[in-house]
Every structure is written in C-alpha cells, then in structure tokens.
C-alpha cells in the first residue's frame, strides 16, 4: 500500500521524479528549476538526482523555453517545461499557439508534441502583479492543446503522471494556493485520470469548479449542508477536453448548476461550461446556470484579492439564486 501524506508540491515533485525515472526521454527545463528546484520547490532535488542534462535552468525567456521544447520534441524528447508564473506564460503564447498546438497537425502526425507545460496558476497568495492569473480560457480555446488542473495532492500526482505520459501537449495548471496543504496520496491508484470527478455527491445543485476553487466549493458544500442544501461538487479536472458526460449526468440529477472560477467572467471558461450544461440539460434545468467568477478587471493586488476571487459568500449567493429562480 503506497498511500502517503504529502502536499501538492511534494506530490508533483514525486510525479516528476517517477516520470524522469521511467521515461528516459523526459527532460525538465525552465527558469530556476535546476539548482534552486523552482521558486515553489516543485523540482527540488531533481537536478541532483537526474543530472544537469535532464533537469536544466534556461535563460530568462519564456518564448525561448517553449520554442526549445518544441524542437526537443521534434528530436524525440519529452520536455516538461515550467513557466515560473501564469502571467509569464504570455511571452510564450506565440510558440504555444502557433507551434506547440499545431506541429502534430502541420506535420500530419510526424512530429507529435509530447510536451507537458507546467504553469503555477491562479491567485490567492498575495503575490506581485501577474502572479495570480487564470489562463484556462485562453488555453482551452487553442486547437491542439489539452488542459488540466489538479485540485489536491492525489489529483496532482495522478494527473501529472498521466499528462506526462501523453504524446499530446498538455498545459498543466497548478493551483499555487494549494501547494502546501497535505493529504493522502495513493501512488498506485487505479482511479482513472480521465474526465471530471465527483468530489462530493449531492442532489440540490451542482457546483462545477477546478484548481483551488474545488476546495472552496467543498467548504461551501459543508456550510450549505447545515441549511439542508445538499450540494454536489464536480471537480472538472480536464478543462480541455471537458467531460460533458459527467456534467450532464450530474445536472440531470440536480437540475441546477453553478460554475465557479477565478478568471474574469467574460469569455471565461465558465461560459463554456454554462453553454454545455444549457445545451445538454435544457429541458431539465430549473434555473439558468449561474457563473460565480472573477470580475472583468485586472487581477488586483493582495489587499483586494479576496474581493476578486469568488469567496464563500458569493458562491452561496449563486446557489441561492439558482434555488430561488422562479419562472417569470
């Protein structure tokens, strides 16, 4: 039995070590991922264990890191690049969209892109500007990319092992606000890493979330239970492709849905989730799908981040709205 208590940061570190051990083509690269072990210590010890050829620091250039990864993949490697923070993936967007997401297509399958891009993501840690961004809507829209985000240490381990074993490019969004909470991780779990996951079964309303918002929704579910509202929490996990079947199954039962995310509302991934649910559950839905999201404003400074990120109150208001909707 390989279950162990560990933080998400440790689980990710473990998943990377196991990947490097099992896949001789796996490489880790990025800013400060080598000697320092990453600013979040996710790659800690790996350069020492696997050598400076397989785990290496790059100069400070995100487009360079991604462009290099595309070339390494063309040479048969499986690069696992890191961009240091969400907001610093922007300089790499051209390489990600026009190259990483398209090389397999352009080459008609001759150059698959087994590249797993790790992006410490989302807010909640009172960090400087551009350290709290949610890029899932951008990435999910890009053809050729798969996008996934773990909500807890178990998911972190399982999803990173799975993603790093794929021969398609995956954007792996790590909820940095959850790096340090510990939980049991079963390294030999037989749970499928595919699709969404019912994090808490319920019956009156479905909360859909990913990343750090899953934990918050679970808290909300606890609180709501005190008022007799039995909330189901779906941890979406895969943001592309989205598991429409699980969403449909859940909302068909609960007949109400609220989607929660940190990124700005307009054209956020919540719109896609809401649209999918509305399409699949049109006849069973009792209320329009609610979106409880960040606002259409730049991610604010620490003092205001609790005003920006969906908090328990705002999620509860969202639940209340779908429960109280009356045909007008």
């Amino acid at each position: 039995m390989s279950e162990q208590m560990m933080s998400m940061q440790q689980a990710l570190n473990r998943a990377l070590a196991d990947t490097l051990r099992n896949d001789p083509t796996a490489l880790i690269l990025g800013e400060d991922v080598g000697t320092l072990g990453g600013v979040f210590r996710v790659t800690q010890g790996l350069a020492k264990e696997f050598g400076a050829e397989r785990v290496f620091d790059t100069p400070l250039a995100e487009s360079g890191i991604l462009g290099l990864s595309v070339g390494l993949a063309m040479a048969g490697f499986h690069p696992i690049p890191e961009v240091q923070f969400d907001g610093f993936a922007y300089p790499a967007v051209n390489q990600i969209i026009t190259q990483l997401g398209r090389m397999n297509y352009r080459s008609r399958g001759v150059f698959p892109m087994p590249v797993t891009l790790r992006v410490p993501s989302f807010g909640g840690i009172r960090a400087p500007e551009h350290h709290g961004e949610s890029l899932e809507a951008l990435f999910a829209h890009v053809p050729g990319l798969k996008v996934v985000s773990p909500a807890d240490p178990q998911q972190a381990y399982s999803l990173l092992r799975y993603a790093a074993g794929l021969s398609d490019p995956v954007i792996f969004m790590e909820p940095k606000a959850r790096y340090w909470q510990k939980a049991a991780v079963d390294m030999d779990t037989t749970q499928s890493p595919l699709g969404a996951r019912i994090a808490r079964p319920g019956k009156h309303v479905t909360l859909v979330a990913w990343g750090a918002m899953v934990a918050r929704c679970l808290q909300v579910a606890e609180l709501a239970a005190e008022d007799g509202i039995i909330v189901e929490v779906v941890d979406l996990r895969w943001l592309k492709p989205i598991d429409e079947a699980t969403l449909t199954e859940s909302v068909t039962r609960t007949r109400r849905a609220v989607v929660v995310h940190e990124g700005p509302r307009t054209a956020g991934l919540g719109a896609e989730v809401a649209a999918l649910i509305s399409e699949h559950c049109f006849d069973t839905l009792k209320a329009p799908v609610e979106r409880v999201t960040g606002f259409d404003v730049p991610y604010p400074s620490g003092d205001l981040e609790d005003e920006y990120i969906p908090n328990i109150d705002r999620i509860l208001f969202g639940i209340q709205r779908v429960l109280e909707h009356r045909r007008g």
């Binding site: 360079g64 462009g67 290099l68 595309v70 063309m74 690069p79 051209n94 026009t98 297509y105 080459s107």
Partner: protein
Amino acid sequence: MAVQNFQVDDAGMPDAEELRQLFTLMVTVRHLDLSAVAWQRQGILPGYAPELGQEAAQVGSAFAMDKAVDFAFPTYREMGVARTLAVDMVAYMATHKATWHGGLYDPKVSRLAPIQAVVAGSVLHAVGWAHGERLAGRAGVALSYFGDGASSQGDVHEAMNFASLMKAPVVFFVQNNGWAISLPTEAQVAGGSVAARAAGYNMASVCIDGNDVAAVVNATRSALAHARSGAGPVLIEAMTYRRGPHSTSDDPGRYRSLEAERIDAGMDPLDRLKEKLLSQGIADEQFIADAWTAARAEEETLRADVMALEPRPGTEMFDYVFTEPTEALAEQRRNWREESEHV
C-alpha cells in the same frame, strides 16, 4: 571575414563535379520558381513566394548538409532548399496549392521541417532540435533558415542566446535578400548587419556573398563542421537579393523602382555560375542546355501532378489534431460528416 575561433578556409569548396551538380540544381530551381509564378497566374496555385535570385544561397547551403544526420528548418521561401534536399516537390507545392499547411512531404524523411509561415517561428525549434541531437549522442546539425526581416523578432535573439550558451550545433543561415516585403534592410536591421549581432553572443559568424554558390557551399560546410565538432553555433549571413515580388500578391513597383532593382540585384547567380563553368572549362554549352531541358521536363511532370492534386478529405482536419483523439473532437467530426458529407 571570419570572427573568433571560426575560420572559413577553402577546404569546403565544391569540386568540378559538384559545381556541375549545383548548376543543374540551380537551373531546376530557377525554372521551377518561374513556373510556380506562372502557375499562380494560370490559377493552378492560389499563391506563391518566389525565391528568384536566391538560388545560390538556397541550393548551396542545402547542398552542404549531411542528409544522413542534419536537418533544415525552412521559412515559406525555401523552395530551392527543398529541391536540393530532394523533397517530393508535389508534396512541397501542396502548401502553395492550399492543400495542407506545412506541405504533404514527410519532414522526417526529407530532413526538412514543415514549411513555416510565422516569421522567425522555427528558429528556436532548430536550437531545441540541435540540443536534443547532442543529448541523444547523435551527430546532427540544425540548419535554421530566416531572413533579414526575421532578424528583428525577439525569438531570434532568444535563439541565438540559448544556442550560444548551450553550444548547440546550429547553423543560423540568414538570407539577407535586401527586403522584408516593402521594408529595405537598412530600415530593418540597425547597424545593417545581422552577422555583426553574433559577436554580442560570443558566437561565430561570417558574412558571405550569397550569390556565389561555391562560397555558400564552402562557408556552410565550414559552419556545419564547426557546429558538429561541438564548438558551438555559427551564423552565416548570405547577402543576396529578392529579385521578384515578396509573393504573388505583392507589387514591388509600389516601393522600389525597376532602376533601383537592376542596380541592387547585381549579377544573376545563375549567370555567374554559368560563366565560371564555361570559363574554367568545367562544363560546356551543351551541358548548360541539357540542364535547362531537364528542368523543363521536370517542371512539366510536376505541373501535371500539382494540377492533379486533390483536396484532402475534410476528416483530416480532425484526425491530426491530437495523437490521442478526444471524444469532444470525435463528436465534432461526426457532426461535420453528417452536415457536410451527409453520412
């Protein structure tokens, strides 16, 4: 003209037989290039980016490659490179026929990466690929093609810095053809020389006459050998001239005069090689004539094949997105078939 530890001597000069081969290739490329423009006018191709005037730079540099191990990363204008590498030219022209972005040739077998439409888009790939070859213990060198215009892009800077730091086996082969669409090099490249940038990265570089095919072969061979030896990347700036329009939709008359064109273009690289072959007794008029005859014959078959090229089935839009397809995409594929192919 060599800088630092990189010396171009004459060791890599092509011999007589090679010069004849180069001439034949250049004639083939010239004829095919002019033909492709004609095909566009005839409605066979929706568009094309001529390499007219760059035959020496393209044929010479690709000729220097070791096809067993090296790999070239082209832009959208490297038809001469493709032909020299013996890429299937119907499959190559498929890009310009709007059949498939990147071409229908197998890039791995061809040693030519898919055609790249993003200016400077593949320069970093060359560095990554080269570094990978070294990690894997293979002897390959990457040949990264880009233009004077591309040199302005941030990616090129990042690529040069990475390559020099990693001592990656890359040869950056810059065709400075004087223009980026309507912008002349002097308004594009501060200082006027891309080769001069290399020193700032402690990288070997050389500026060569890109219209002298022998000089191009020689310099590229030296550079490949240098990079292969582990001594680090090299930048070659081949000075040449874009004698035609930027593409078949461009009208150079809007930004340069015919008179200026004539002066700036200098002597045609084909004429130069022909004169050399004849004056040095390496080939005779018959050889020259035969080369043109062969080129015409090749073009005729090619034209027929390009015309016969059918659109790819729409299902391929879906089939090459991922190696492991998703249910969502499979559903879109089904819907598309139902609504568009009525199946």
